[in-house]
């Protein structure tokens, strides 16, 4: 609550640089940073516990992610206040692991999202090492806000934020490991032209659906890849509330307010006017 009794949510983004294949060390770094910001909801990048280019190691590093239970080997995360969203490979049955985002409260799993769209083109090879998720659900945290989670490529598929919005999401947290590309031209953001696309996408998604959007992108270097950083927190009117540079370790904070959410939705009531029944009927006739 703010001073006027309006419900608020303290949002934070930790723009970390994960050590490859060292979950315990990464958990310790994340836990220390989360303890300093003391937010209601803290978001870290994709695969923040393990690093990105895992390839076959994704299977050996995968851990079960079960509601109500801690995640093995990263107990340090229990010290974080509020909810903490971390990324890791999830072991599930005998198949390939999932690229997973786990929402932890006091070190125990509150909610999970398995990456639905696994990029397998250009520099990406995710479908070789991960299985796509089938679930897409929101959850309501102890803070009282309804939250949806997406991982990197998921945000580029408009159906996913749309479905989260239909479920009533007020906040969408996006975990990303977006490599920087287009260094010669640099783009509007000044380092990689590729990041301009992400900024536009984050702002349009937030404004279109009237949601807060917290985008945690990876920073630092892994092999030849420089991650673009540039994490963002965007308000429901599409305005940027906080923005990071390229450096690892950047921390973003912003306060989400229910009043601002309501005001944005009142002036741009597109989500309210959606007609999912019509859409469902139309999709049944769509070419496949």
């Amino acid at each position: 609550m703010n001073a006027d009794g309006v419900p608020t949510l303290r949002l934070a983004v930790l723009q970390t640089d994960a050590l490859l294949e060292d979950p315990a060390a990464n958990a310790s770094t994340i836990s220390d940073a989360a303890a300093r910001v003391r937010a209601d909801l803290t978001v870290t990048p994709e695969l923040s516990l393990t690093g990105y280019h895992l390839e076959a190691a994704a299977a050996s590093l995968a851990r079960p992610v079960r509601t109500g239970e801690p995640i093995e080997g990263v107990e340090a995360l229990a010290a974080a206040e509020g909810e903490l969203v971390v990324g890791l490979p999830e072991r599930s049955g005998i198949g390939p692991p999932h690229n997973c985002a786990a929402v932890l409260a006091r070190g125990r799993v509150r909610h999970r999202h398995r990456k639905r769209y696994l990029p397998t083109y250009g520099m990406f090879d995710e479908a070789r090492f991960f299985a796509p998720g089938e679930e897409l659900e929101t959850y309501v945290g102890d803070h009282g806000w309804r939250v949806g989670i997406l991982i990197c490529e998921d945000l580029w598929h408009p159906s996913l934020p749309y479905l989260l919005a239909l479920e009533g999401a007020q906040v969408i947290a996006v975990l990303a490991a977006a490599a920087g590309r287009g260094a010669w031209s640099g783009g509007e953001t000044g380092r990689f032209a590729s990041w301009d696309h992400w900024v536009r996408l984050a702002r349009v998604t937030a404004q279109t659906h009237g949601v807060y959007l917290a985008l945690a992108n990876r920073a630092g270097v892994e092999g030849p890849i420089t991650f673009a950083g540039g994490s963002l927190i965007v308000g429901p009117d599409g305005g940027i509330l906080a923005e990071a540079g390229a450096d690892p370790g950047a921390v973003l904070e912003a306060v989400a307010e229910r009043d601002a959410l309501d005001a944005a939705r009142a002036s741009s009531p597109h989500a309210r006017d959606e007609d999912p029944r019509w859409l469902a009927e139309r999709l049944r006739r769509a070419p496949r």
Binding site: R181, G182, W184, V221, P224, T226
Partner: protein
């Protein structure tokens, strides 16, 4: 940050990570006197920890004598760099540009290629000139300048139609086929653009 500072920062970040990842302490640049080598030195010497950068001077006449099996000055410098790297926990950096890496079959035996995602024409924009084997210089001349050759390569990388006459296209395809053999071994190329040798391109 200006363009050169931005790109130098990325290249140095990858070079520092490569040294860390290899447990190496020194990056040995084969300094063949080219504008590419000068650009590598300009970025890497101040961008690496003190003492972590060293150039092996291929323009020094004594370099040939100091190599065990000299082929030419650059190969001698490379042999010295490899020898020093083995003795001093180092990595060897080669200054080849992206154009040369795609087209020259023997351009990439080094551990780190700082300019591997930077076209020759962009090296020229930053330094005033570029270098490459005579066959590539000749191909660039036939294309009407290295910037036109690079534009054709950019189109090839993205699967677009290359706007050139059939004879020129044939020469380009032959050069690309020869260059493919030079990309057999994985090297570290700081990623700057969307289609990078050893990262997005099949070997």
């Amino acid at each position: 940050m200006d363009r050169e500072g931005r790109i130098a920062g990325i290249v140095c970040g990858v070079a520092r990570a490569a040294l860390r990842g290899a447990g190496a302490e020194t990056l040995l640049l084969i300094d063949d006197g080219s504008p590419e080598a000068e650009l590598c030195r300009r970025w890497l010497e101040p961008g690496l920890p003190p003492g972590a950068f060293r150039a092996i001077d291929a323009t020094d006449p004594a370099i040939v004598e100091s190599a065990l099996q000299p082929v030419d000055a650059v190969e001698a410098a490379r042999a010295v760099a490899r020898s020093v790297a083995a003795a001093e926990r180092g990595l060897v950096a080669g200054p080849a540009n992206r154009t040369t890496l795609l087209l020259a079959p023997r351009s990439a035996p080094d551990d780190l290629l700082p300019l591997g995602d930077l076209w020759a024409s962009r090296v020229a924009a930053l330094t005033g000139s570029w270098s490459g084997p005579a066959t590539i210089a000749e191909l660039a001349r036939r294309f009407g300048g290295v910037e036109h050759l690079d534009a054709a390569l950019e189109a090839w990388l993205h699967g677009r139609v290359i706007d050139a006459d059939p004879g020129l296209l044939e020469a380009l395809e032959a050069a690309l086929a020869r260059g493919r053999s030079g990309r057999r071994w994985p090297r570290i190329v700081p990623k700057l653009e969307s289609r990078t040798a050893w990262i997005d391109l099949g070997r």
